[in-house]
């Protein structure tokens, strides 16, 4: 597709409803599907639209494309079950852009629900022993994601001299934002020393370098510019989107110290949006582990390759810092159900509408949301703004 055609789609769709499940955190009384439904109900109420207005359902998780519409009582004309990991919901925004502009559907519902901690309705997770991960990685003790993200962190430290203290700065700054969010799971301030003294998990990560594991859900309602004009909420415009993949299993990552998928998704989003880096008031960067926002800052061009460690030093991303990042408290301290990308988008929408109370970034007009899928396998980026 030509650049002109992409650029012409800047600001042609808007997020007009955004919400999370009633509660995020530990919810052993709720299944994954219940969390999808809570998010969908709350987002449609936020938009002032009815379930009967929904023409397309984009969702993913353990479910097929048929499951969510059935559970919610929707008979959509288009379903999308794209599963690329935690950033899938950001990619769904790009898919919604295509759908709406092609005239396939005008009101699109994107949902997420995951019982990541309580594991209710989550059967079938894990790698089959005959899959590539099952044959070539599982036998060597990869366990959870921490060991595999650690492989990228270790090479980044080797190539660029990034330090564990710089990684810890991310956890400390993110916790400061969580302290301002009444819904956050972790609200006790921490120091760099606390991170370095927390339990060892998988070098170079200690416990406080790792995200939480929680239950939660959320949803977005997305529509055309014409329809957005009639909705009750101030539209949050989608200026640019991008998605990319560079590997599936971490051992095949092309460059462990450079997030190639993020470079590609970010370039596409920035180019479509016409935005400059200086226009960005808020960064919502998926923080499954402390290395991930550092890789994102570099790949998206907020600093040079290898400069992410120094960039986050001195609490630059904390409340009051020059670069507000992960203002909900992040996957590190707010919530992380497993596929965290939805929460990046909901927080960005709420910040751009000025609804964030104590943690509100004053005058925030333009935000960037960027996520990882798999083990830095995929990336998706969206640039959102109050202005078209």
């Amino acid at each position: 597709m030509s650049r002109e055609k992409r650029r012409a789609q800047r600001g042609t769709i808007a997020i007009v409803g955004a919400a999370e499940s009633d509660v995020v955190g530990k919810q052993p009384e709720k299944s994954a599907l219940m969390l999808h439904a809570e998010g969908a109900r709350n987002a449609l109420a936020d938009a002032g639209l009815s379930v009967r207005d929904v023409e397309a359902v984009l969702s993913t998780g353990r479910q097929t494309a048929n499951d969510i519409p059935e559970y919610l009582g929707i008979r959509p004309r288009y379903m999308d079950n794209t599963q690329m990991g935690g950033c899938s919901f950001i990619a769904h925004l790009e898919h919604a852009l295509g759908l709406i502009n092609a005239g396939v559907a005008e009101v699109v519902l994107i949902t997420h629900g995951e019982s990541g901690r309580s594991r209710i309705g989550m059967e079938g997770t894990g790698f089959a022993p005959e899959s590539p991960a099952g044959q070539y990685e599982m036998p060597f003790g990869i366990g959870g994601p921490a060991t595999r993200y650690a492989l990228a962190a270790a090479r980044h430290m080797h190539e660029y001299g990034t330090t564990r203290e710089q990684l810890a700065e991310v956890a400390v700054a993110t916790r400061k934002w969580a302290c301002l969010n009444p819904r956050a799971a972790m609200r006790e301030p921490i120091t760099v020393a606390d991170v370095l003294q927390s339990r060892q998990v998988s070098w170079p990560f200690n416990l406080l370098d790792c995200c939480l594991v929680t239950d939660g859900g959320g949803a977005l309602v997305v529509t055309s510019a014409e329809r957005a004009a009639d909705c009750q909420q101030q539209p949050v415009w989608v200026l640019g989107t991008g998605e990319a993949t560079c590997h599936a299993i971490i051992s095949q990552m092309p460059r462990f110290h450079v997030w190639d998928a993020a470079i590609r998704s970010g370039e596409r989003a920035f180019e479509m949006s016409g935005a400059r880096h200086a226009d960005i008031d808020l960064a919502m960067f998926y923080d499954a582990f402390t290395i991930v926002p550092i890789l994102a800052l570099e790949a998206l061009g907020f600093c040079g390759l290898g400069e992410g460690g120094p960039f986050v030093a001195g609490q630059r991303t904390a409340p009051g810092g020059a670069f507000p990042m992960n203002t909900n408290g992040g996957g590190l301290s707010y919530t992380h159900s497993g596929m965290y990308g939805m929460y990046l988008l909901v927080e960005a929408v709420k910040q751009l509408r000025g609804e964030c109370g104590e943690r509100q970034v004053k005058g925030a007009k333009t935000a960037i949301c960027h996520g990882t899928g798999g083990i830095l396998s995929a990336a998706a980026t969206a640039i959102l703004s109050t202005e078209r």
């Binding site: 022993p129 005959e130 070539y136 599982m138 003790g141 366990g143 339990r199 051992s251 095949q252 462990f256």
Partner: protein, 137 residues
Amino acid sequence: MPEDYKAPLPRPTPESRPFWDGCKQHELRLQRCRDCGEAYFYPRNVCPGCLSANVEWFRASGHGKVHTFSVVYAGGRNPPLELPFVLAVIELDEGVRVMSNLVGVPADPEQIRCDMPVVVEFADVTEQVTLPRFRPA
């Protein structure tokens, strides 16, 4: 051979069978494309460089370097080695990368360096399965 090895085991598929059979014979096998010359891992029926199906197996040197690693202190249920152990991605001399475990060195990040030379060894973990591991060369 360990009595009751509980860590996850690979289940070979048609395209990977020669690799796992090779490990059992303590031979590290890779594939190469006869059209574009690219050596590659993991086993596939097509070359990931050019999608040619004209591919062949060959015996790898077994030498390489630690490309990156982690010292795993909490690795989930049934780790393959006693905790802590070293998870590593090895860049083989043939230019491909494989995940493995680094053995014969303390599981201490101070004692391991990216790019340190290593050589393959084989661990017969069950009657059926042999895993490639690497030790300092």
